[in-house]
Symmetry: D2
Subunit: 278 residues, 4 copies
């Protein structure tokens, strides 16, 4: 008399103990509104690279959209309701793309990878919504005499340094102007799950979109200034599961840095509007 | 000109940077023999429970096999070649089952959940071979005056205590006798991956088997004795992603403990013989 | 030709590599002003206990001052300049005392112990200024639906839970009124260093004072409300270096809780005005 | 009625809660025999440097003894009884010296610094027995295809790499020959404690000796081979409390490496025979 799966509930492995709570399903199935949480402090640095290098990273149906500007960002989140008030940090690398499918034509930011420093959101993010999440250590930033420094490492191997400086706070009007000029349809991903035993083939392979709309996120304050990033090349021995990802970024030409920002926000959304692109 | 996926290579998200190294694919595609590594120290405690409670955990096609004896085990591994010589720890809960499918009839150990203290093997394990791996902290055991104590926690909430004592070392002959009497076809799992956007439905849902054969694992020494386990009930606030799993085990009746073991091993296999059951 | 110690510089072990940087001595001997750093978020809960229990904790020359009200507080600090912009967390237990010495008569808060989650300030604090600092894990608080929860643990053994709720923000006027009513001379400590080889005797044993004055700390916001604390009794096996400290607090009668506060601050002082009481 | 200090017991700050358990005083004052614990795995690499550089590190009364050969070693200890069966790791740097005092003339190894990855033994070691212990992260070694790699870092800044390779196991006879040829009187240290408020002056400043005798330590196995070390220069921003220590070692000339060893041991002593040199 094996257990049935309730088609109105969400599951992840292990499925044997009932529905699994996560960002889109709390205890008793409740939803998380994401209005007064999470709190986020995001640091971002952009740089111009060359288009040819970025094209090599494009999944089927994707093409570059406009200038090849890569953004490296972190977000340090606290008071996350689905984690019962805990927090975690993320580090992402993205650039603007278009997706031209049979049904869908969208423009947005392609999130090529998202490192996180907690496993639970990595699992829900990969499996439920197709984010390319992997793990690294993301300690809190240091802030010394106006300069912010962030690092990322994996089991002690530091693979990234980020610096921000010369920050000035934007006025409310400036923030609104920047937001109004954003025309993205959302964030694009490519979900892939290998098939067990048939190595090299996939159980799942499709593009997905995080729509830009529907978010309760509000900017509390925003600062802009100068910034730089430096990925450190790794041997397989240093990063045996991630060396090729880090090396791909370390190899990217940096034509020029395009500024940095520090943004404090509250609210968000549960991403239950994540959808497959066709 | 998007990137192609090489059908002879293994991928995991992100797929944009080429094949991904892992337990079954090293740099340049090399395999890991698992002959002189990893080193493992495994602690195990078993108890008799009641069959009805275990039946509630059975996926489709599974039934109990023999006495309802649950085994809680940890394995502390070092010198893992696919991690370039690093280690990590695992904690599993299993019991004997049969699987009766259209093609496959197998008997073995059902691994209901496997906690691990490192994200990278959790990802490869879930996605490539369908292990129900999730994260927890697994500090090294304490050993004081003949008693071993192991704990498991998640972000500071301790959900399990394991104690072993009165251990005596087995002779080589005793070890061989025990191994010869094992008749398992392997370890059973149920792989499940949710479908993005169609919440409640699955992209992937099938039973998988880790065959017992083909392993290079050798027992270096083995000790048997007494042991006990205690799962601590959790509120959603304590373990917002895992409370129902821990509570399911905390609710299990412990009719009697059935002994404990400490086993040191070397070698293993890369689990590339993992296969879907039909 | 052994190295000389420069009498105008500060040293800690190891002394062989020149003066040691710390809170009161930066590189090139510079001082830290502590004006725009550190940032602090402090959580505090007080309770009335019985005087007799507290008297057992009083060093020579100390006596209770007024009601036996114990305050358990944490402070989560970031952007600390002497740590080059890093942060750390502290957890203290204090109550009001008088010190009557031959020369000094002071009233203030007796800081019986201060747990910290970073070794470097523990060493400087113990040796330079006589704080009774010891180590524990102090993860960030959780904040869920208006309730804050803080924990403290040592190698996985949780020995303290703190809860705050029903917080309301104080007006600037209320904050100023509370500050004006404070009449403490500062914080009292008892510095003790054992003599090597002559076990049971001391190299150093004297009371010290952190004067209340001279601080650049400013309150940015303050909230008051309800709170509770719970120390969990420990065996030697659980906390082999600290069990008697935790058990002393776990044994304290809690006659009634006396409220809680959450205070955000900026600035401080380098504590170079710390002095021996006589 | 303040508390008395029992002259037959050992204390550390805080002294208010009774005697403090530690390596030389267990619960109820019991001693730790250190016969079947701790277990240790030590890795060591030596190199010839120039004498002049080492002389700059010598405290009063110390002089170099023989060739200026520096040894960098780690020890990974488990099953430590005074920590109720837990373990921790250490990293030390030493070289051979003589001490010529008014009463004492001793030859031995000068332990200039000992990093440890746990605060509790750092405190007892500094204050009770005058070891120059400070904190760093010391993850377990990696072992890949015959090569061992160890690292040391502080809050994510890696300051040391150690490599060992080409190890061959010594016979029992070889081990005994090596032990018999050792003529050290023990390990030398310089204990220093600053005086509160009188910055630049000391409460405590004296040399101490860990006698070579009286230990229950036994070598279980020993391997010797090749090795190398590399200290990485640090800015104050990288290691704000330790940059000058690490830089002193990074500046040391490496004339040639003098081999490496891997040694597994059981037992030790409680170091209660630590004594002041005069």
């Amino acid at each position: 008399m094996p257990y049935p799966l309730d088609p109105n509930k969400m599951y992840r492995m292990p499925t044997h103990f009932g529905p699994r709570a996560g960002p889109r399903q709390g205890p008793d199935g409740r939803k998380f509104e994401c209005i007064d949480n999470p709190l986020g402090t995001a640091y971002s640095v952009s740089f111009l690279t060359n288009a040819q290098q970025l094209q090599a990273f494009l999944p089927p149906g994707f093409s570059l959209d406009g200038e090849p500007v890569v953004t490296v960002f972190t977000n340090h989140m606290t008071e996350i309701e689905w984690l019962a008030g805990r927090g975690y940090n993320v580090l992402g690398v993205s650039f603007p793309v278009q997706f031209n499918g049979e049904q869908d034509q969208v423009r947005g930011s392609f999130l090529t990878v998202l490192w996180e420093n907690l496993t639970d959101p990595i699992i829900t993010g990969r499996e439920e919504i197709g984010f390319s999440k992997i793990y690294c250590e993301l300690p809190p930033p240091t802030h010394l005499r106006g300069e912010y420094h962030l690092i990322a490492s994996w089991l002690g191997f530091k693979f990234l340094d980020i610096h921000l400086s010369d920050l000035r706070e934007l006025s409310l009007e400036e923030i609104q102007t920047r937001q109004a000029s954003a025309t993205s349809d959302g964030t694009l991903h490519y979900k892939y799950m290998p098939r067990t035993g048939k190595w090299g083939s996939a159980d799942v392979a499709y593009p997905v979109l995080t729509p830009a709309a529907n978010s309760n996120q509000r900017i509390l304050e925003q600062h802009v200034g100068a910034g730089s990033i430096k990925f450190h090349p790794a041997r397989w021995e240093d990063l045996p599961t991630q060396y090729n990802i880090v090396n791909a970024f370390a190899d990217l030409e940096i034509v020029e840095f395009r500024g940095a920002s520090l943004t404090k926000t509250v609210g968000g959304k549960d991403l239950s509007d994540q959808r497959i692109l066709r």
